[in-house]
């Protein structure tokens, strides 16, 4: 394939991935790696390197828009970033020591889990009214705008959430994705942070987390400019387009379709990982 054709097709594919990723809230990374590896036959190491860089671009681009709405909590973000950045370096170091087939299998499992999350209906976690001592000491509690005015919330089970976010960072560094799926476990389910707050805050954290593994990736030669250029520009344009449309869109059916697609990609990644083709 010529440079011109490769650049155009990868940019187009990444635009679509970034668009769907931002509409469904699952992020573009989960599609970009399988797209590069399965369709364009790019080595897994180059694929996760390019995807990781695109994750920094889309998360930083979206953060500016979220900030104005006043949902994100900078203290929760900064505190949990200690866990995610340490995890990210661990993940990036693991990535350089295991076979690409193993990475493909882990990737496939994460895809299938993300598909499950996107298809199930968002459960309403019961609200815990009690104060958490640690949350108070760390000043993590906050408030966010709702239809009835600003509403208070309390953060819970901080050690568990911190540990899970270390895992989220490890997956991010290992697979070159934003790890939205583990974030749901840690911030929504364990720490009981309101959905809008956790989504916007984790988006804020993704860029910093990815930057921590990007240094390791760059030094190991995982980031090739010829692949990263169309991926970053395509994904960035796609996610900006998606964010503009999100206001009037009804993403429920879209999430279901996207869920089926990433589940299929997950199965194919696992199959190719086991047969040694990736």
């Amino acid at each position: 394939m010529s440079v011109l054709l490769f650049t155009s097709l990868v940019a187009l594919g990444s635009l679509l991935a970034g668009f769907l990723g931002s509409l469904t809230g699952l992020g573009g990374g989960v599609v970009i790696v399988p797209l590069l590896a399965l369709v364009f036959h790019v080595d897994m190491r180059y694929a996760i390197g390019a995807s990781l860089i695109s994750v920094i671009a889309t998360s930083s681009g979206a953060a500016a828009a979220y900030v104005r709405e006043g949902f994100s909590n900078i203290r929760i973000g900064m505190f949990l970033e200690i866990a995610t950045t340490l995890g990210a370096i661990a993940g990036a170091l693991i990535a350089t020591h295991v076979s690409t087939g193993t990475i493909a299998i882990v990737f496939g499992a994460v895809l299938i889990y993300s598909a499950y999350l996107s298809i199930r209906t968002q459960p309403a976690y019961p609200v815990i009214k009690n104060q958490d001592r640690l949350a108070r000491a760390l000043r993590l509690d906050g408030d966010y705008p709702t239809a009835k005015g600003r509403e208070q919330y309390t953060v819970h089970r901080i050690p568990l959430g911190f540990g899970l976010m270390f895992g989220a960072g490890t997956l991010s560094g290992l697979l070159g994705i934003g790890s939205g799926a583990v974030k749901v476990l840690a911030m929504d389910q364990a720490m009981r942070i309101p959905f809008k707050v956790s989504t916007t805050t984790s988006n804020f954290m993704i860029g910093v987390t990815a930057a921590a593994s990007a240094g390791v990736y760059l030094a190991r030669g995982y980031i090739d400019p010829g692949i990263a250029m169309p991926v970053v520009l395509g994904a960035l344009a796609g996610s900006m387009l998606g964010a503009k449309l999100l206001v009037n869109a009804h993403p429920k059916h879209l999430r279901a379709v996207f869920g089926v697609v990433i589940a299929a990609l997950g199965i194919e990644m696992i199959f190719n990982g086991f047969t040694g083709r990736l």
């Binding site: 011109l4 920094i56 671009a57 505190f79 104060q131 860029g207 240094g215 250029m229």
Partner: protein
Amino acid sequence: MKLSEGRKSVKAMNSFGTGKSAKSMLSSAWNDQRLEVIIGNLLRAGVLLSASVVVIGGIIYVARHGSAIVDYRNFQGKLSPLRTFTGIFHGTLQLSGRAIIQFGLLLLIATPVARVIFSAIGFVWERDYLYVAFTLAVLAVLCYSLFGGSLHG
């Protein structure tokens, strides 16, 4: 004494359902909010700047090598000169398209790092030294990743 104070304030909090006294909440929310807006703009500027550099490098790269055949099946990253800061800067000065793209990607990686630095300044300004410490811890991890490995070699 301290314990009973703590209990009293927990009780007061439960009746309001809030974690902080009204006054401290108002001031810290305002400062955090303002800090977040500044950081949001910083992130947007960083992404726009780095994307522009990547576009310029991309145009040079495709214009010069558009018809060359690419094959990324085999990983050859270990041979790339664009794995180190010196390699990237050297190539950028020679106006190599690939090096300019990589320089743009380096700016992109630096954007969230700049956000962490700004957050540290913001927390100093708020006199919240616990969070200054947290932010510096994150910054130390980022510096280890960017400067601790072979990247500077």
